[in-house]
Symmetry: C2
Subunit: 283 residues, 2 copies
């Protein structure tokens, strides 16, 4: 058997998770995926191998930021080299031959179940059953060949496990998107500069000195140079109660002159500043 | 039996939860506590009775903000009338007569277990067992009269359930504080103006127009008037992917002239603005 020379990409969840859909969008189909149980394991697999890339969710338009991953970004010191967003479409998925009228239980991650409340209200015969993972619920109903149960997960999960989609897009809110980051180790160099048809985005993390007006002055480094912020997120600073780290994304390439000036200005004001990555803007 | 005329205060968790310690600090001992399973239930009990006050955690110095409660604050439209912070001290607690050397399992909330990793590393004979609640773990080991197990929770929980503290303060990090809000319904009027020995704090929530520099301009309403920010938190805006609500706390009384001017200025810039409350600064 020829040696598998495909790149290995770590993500959290079972095969067929929405993160795997993000892997496909970011890197195409010619990579080998490495499903991990926990986010920390994803980061560890990128740090120590065998993965050479990782894809992590960073925010969802309904649930908000994935704060744990912000903390890991600081701790592990990888580079963000890409982003994408995936619309979260929940499907009711069962083993082949099972009909919708047979379904009495629907398994999925609690967050997914709570995003399909209209469906459950319309179909009171179907009981919500919390499970550890969306794609994992599809895997389980297939492995157990359950005849009265379905999983709720992605179309990719139905495809991977050979299951049937009984009802498409049963989520309450179509404005349900998750944004993902593609991470690589710090030394990594792209073979060619990636295309950035929508421009570039840069992510940084910093702490301000604990003095009045410090966040305002930090933001002035960007505003005074007409650099637009896409997002700001605060996290507690360990060991300094009631002080914060700020994660900030701005529109621009880190090597543009005004970005360099803004970051130089921010460095004057900040106790700590690190560029987490510069990457083509996603969809 | 005389009718119980004590005020009823809702909080999340079992009796003896850290939230109950916050109730005691905010309202003293002469109130009746109403433990609730979920945060949403706490808000519902304040909305529809029987509670006339509620105490909720809003941020922890290690874990960060309790984002769910920010969302409830927006939805329910109560008033924040007080804040306090409680140092989170985890204790190993067992039924009377059980000795430390008997302990083979320690039950507690997963977050608490993860905050005592040094203890578990020093005592490998003690297994971590995830449980739904800190104080609930103490209640359970008492009810079941377990002889080889302990719960991990507050000193108040040990007191309430008549259990024994075998090891005090086993948390890894002493800089572990949780900040709590005291909430009342909007129409509520204090009988007398509360004392504010450390001054006042005001909490607001707003959305900015989706134009460049809008957050910077929003913060300028405070910075240009030398009003200090204590905290800013962003949450996704439902139905508008990649737009955000901002929750902001500043130091000052809402009726001071410069606060009124700042809020007037912010109202010019914001699509939406609501004052969540004005309250004496906590410890």
């Amino acid at each position: 058997m020829p040696r598998d020379s495909r790149e290995i990409v770590a993500f959290q969840g079972e095969r067929g998770a929405f993160s795997q859909e993000a892997v496909r969008r970011l890197l195409g189909d010619r990579v080998k995926v490495l499903p991990c149980q926990r986010f920390e394991e994803v980061f560890q697999r990128l740090k120590s191998g065998p993965a050479s890339a990782a894809v992590i969710p960073i925010e969802n338009t309904l649930a908000g930021s994935v704060h744990e991953n912000y903390d890991h970004l600081l701790q592990f010191d990888f580079r963000i080299v890409g982003e994408t967003s995936v619309r979260i479409v929940h499907n009711l998925i069962a083993p082949p031959g099972v009909r919708f009228r047979d379904i009495r239980r629907a398994f999925s991650h609690p967050v997914a179940l709570n995003q399909c409340l209209d469906f459950f209200a319309r179909h009171p015969q179907v009981e919500k059953v919390p499970f550890y993972d969306t794609a994992g619920s599809v895997k389980m109903v297939m492995e157990e060949r359950l005849r009265d149960a379905a999983g709720i997960g992605s179309a990719l999960a139905a495809d991977i496990y050979g299951a049937t989609i009984l009802r498409k897009s049963i989520e309450d809110d179509r404005q349900n998107f998750t944004r993902f980051f593609l991470l690589r180790r710090s030394g990594w160099k792209a073979k060619s500069r990636p295309r950035a048809t929508k421009g570039w985005k840069t992510s940084v993390v910093f702490t301000t000195r604990n003095v009045p007006g410090s966040l305002f002055r930090a933001l002035s480094a960007f505003a005074l140079r007409d650099l637009n912020l896409a997002k700001i997120e605060s996290r507690p600073l360990r060991g300094k109660p009631w002080e914060y780290l700020f994660y900030l994304d701005f529109i621009g390439h880190v090597e543009e002159e005004r970005s360099r000036n803004a970051l130089g200005h921010l460095a004057e004001l900040a106790d700590f500043l690190r560029v987490l990555g510069c990457y083509p803007r996603g969809d």
